[in-house]
Amino acid sequence: MQSSPDLAAGNIYDLGYRRYQGARLGRRQAVLTIYLQSLRAAFGLGRRPAAKIVPVALVVLALFPAALRLGIAAATDQNIRIVEPANYYSYIQILLALFVAAQAPELVGRDLRNNTRPLYFSRAIRRSDYALAKLVALASAMLFMTALPQVVLYVGNAFAGSHVWPEMRDSAPDLPRIAVSAVALSLFMAAVSLAVAAQTSRRAFAAGGIIALFVFSGTVGGVLVEAGSALWNRLGILISLYDVMRGATFWIFATDPEPESQLGRADLPGPLYAALLAALASLALVLLLRRYMRFRP
């Protein structure tokens, strides 16, 4: 320690309260950052390796029906279309539910558990910005589960035969349908799962609640519609979130379900499913926003 006569005794303490001099990036940048970080978190990027296993494995499994279709095309030379785009989401519905059940609590549960919400809300964002950024991030992540396999199937179908361009042109009307259905289902599942996940800081139980919601509603709706043909049996299918998603998808693709399937037995108009999908997603969004609006630190 050497003493310097130049410095007054109190000087080392007098750092002053300095203001931040750099550029202030504002609300838009803050929201964008939450969105990007949440999107990364949805796949466990920047987390330990164990956090990456489940989301990545689910994306790979979701590609399985498309890979199966292309494998058959490669092995048999014949253009058998066993996997139709309108049916694709039904094949992987439990994988979709598991993805949101695993990752929605990951996006909101940690902030609840660690009480970091006040840190976010003291910045230049509104509370609704936080909730909406999380919602859009999870919905974007879900596009890897919904849109990606459809695109692989579409491109693969074209390249499986020898007539690449005519094939692509013929099934081109599917592209906007794929886009609309994938975005609609992703937003719906993200909204519903986040509305549940935001209620509890225990991530495991949030996951259980989300999966219970999808599985139980699906089974109950299925049991009701299988059991009879009265109107209330047919309306019972609307309890099943899976079937609401499926009905809306069929409506978007303008195809009719198999007469023997649950949707065929229910025989309800397509726009009803789409309207219910939108209504449930809005309800979930309201619940999610309310949860953050009402928060008092």
């Binding site: 439990i94 599985v215 139980f216």
Partner: protein
């Protein structure tokens, strides 16, 4: 059994929001059975009760979810919260800790699922003369709950993400894979439960036909409980306390 550990575990499991969630889920089959009773269902009661109500809703959904919630929480939430250190520092043999936790998780699971099974079964079948269906599924659910709880408890010592791993086992392995590849059915607790239930209920194969025979299911259930229990004890004996997770 160690009473203080068991009592604390019971409080840990029941004083939570999840109890409400489970009670709501347990009401679902009861409501459905009531709807079946007084609605205009066209299916045969024994057929509907065994295949839909019991197999699809109780054994395939309610039982694994309840066992997952309680089985992973009994020991897993103590490990999560860091209070497992205080438990493991006590001079109680580790196998006693596992057994106490397991028995409580099992009893709580059984309390919820058995209530749903009996009430819903009686509602759907009263006066139809298929009392053995209710008895069969009640016994099978008790045995299945023990197997599920043991597996999930062992899983919760092995990994901090036991709940997610259990979900994947129940809904991807038991739900999807066993449906696609028949040989994997001997590795599914759901199929053991159904096999045991079908054996006791002794319905005609036309009404309800499980994939596994009754005796085979019983032996496999016992093997699963013993192996998973042994693995759980072993993992807990080697568990390093003070590890932050």
């Amino acid at each position: 059994m160690n009473w203080p550990v068991a009592q604390l575990t019971l409080r840990l499991l029941l004083n939570q929001k999840r109890t409400v969630l489970l009670a709501v889920l347990a009401l679902v089959p009861v409501l459905l059975a009531a709807v079946f009773r007084w609605g205009s269902f066209e299916e045969h009661p024994a057929d509907w009760a065994s295949n839909r109500l019991m197999a699809q809703i109780i054994v395939a959904a309610l039982l694994p979810l309840a066992a997952l919630i309680f089985g992973t929480a009994a020991l897993g939430s103590e490990i999560d919260d860091g209070t497992a250190v205080y438990l493991l520092a006590k001079p109680i043999p580790r196998w006693r800790v596992v057994v106490s936790k397991l028995v409580v998780a099992w009893l709580v699971t059984v309390a919820f699922v058995l209530m749903a099974t009996v009430v819903a079964g009686v509602l759907a079948l009263a006066g139809e003369g298929h009392a053995l269906v209710v008895v069969g599924f009640a016994v099978a659910v008790i045995a299945g709950a023990l197997a599920y709880c043991t597996v999930f408890l062992a899983l919760s010592v092995a990994t901090s993400r036991a709940f997610l791993a259990g979900l994947v086992y129940v809904f991807i392995w038991e739900g999807l894979v066993t449906g696609l590849f028949e040989g994997t059915r001997v590795l599914s607790i759901r199929e053991y439960t159904l096999g045991l239930a079908g054996w006791i209920a002794s319905l005609s194969p036309k009404t309800f036909e499980p994939e596994l025979a009754g005796g085979q299911s019983l032996v496999l259930l016992a093997i699963v409980c013993l192996v998973a229990g042994w693995v759980g004890v072993r993992l807990l004996q080697r568990f390093e306390t003070g590890e932050s997770s």
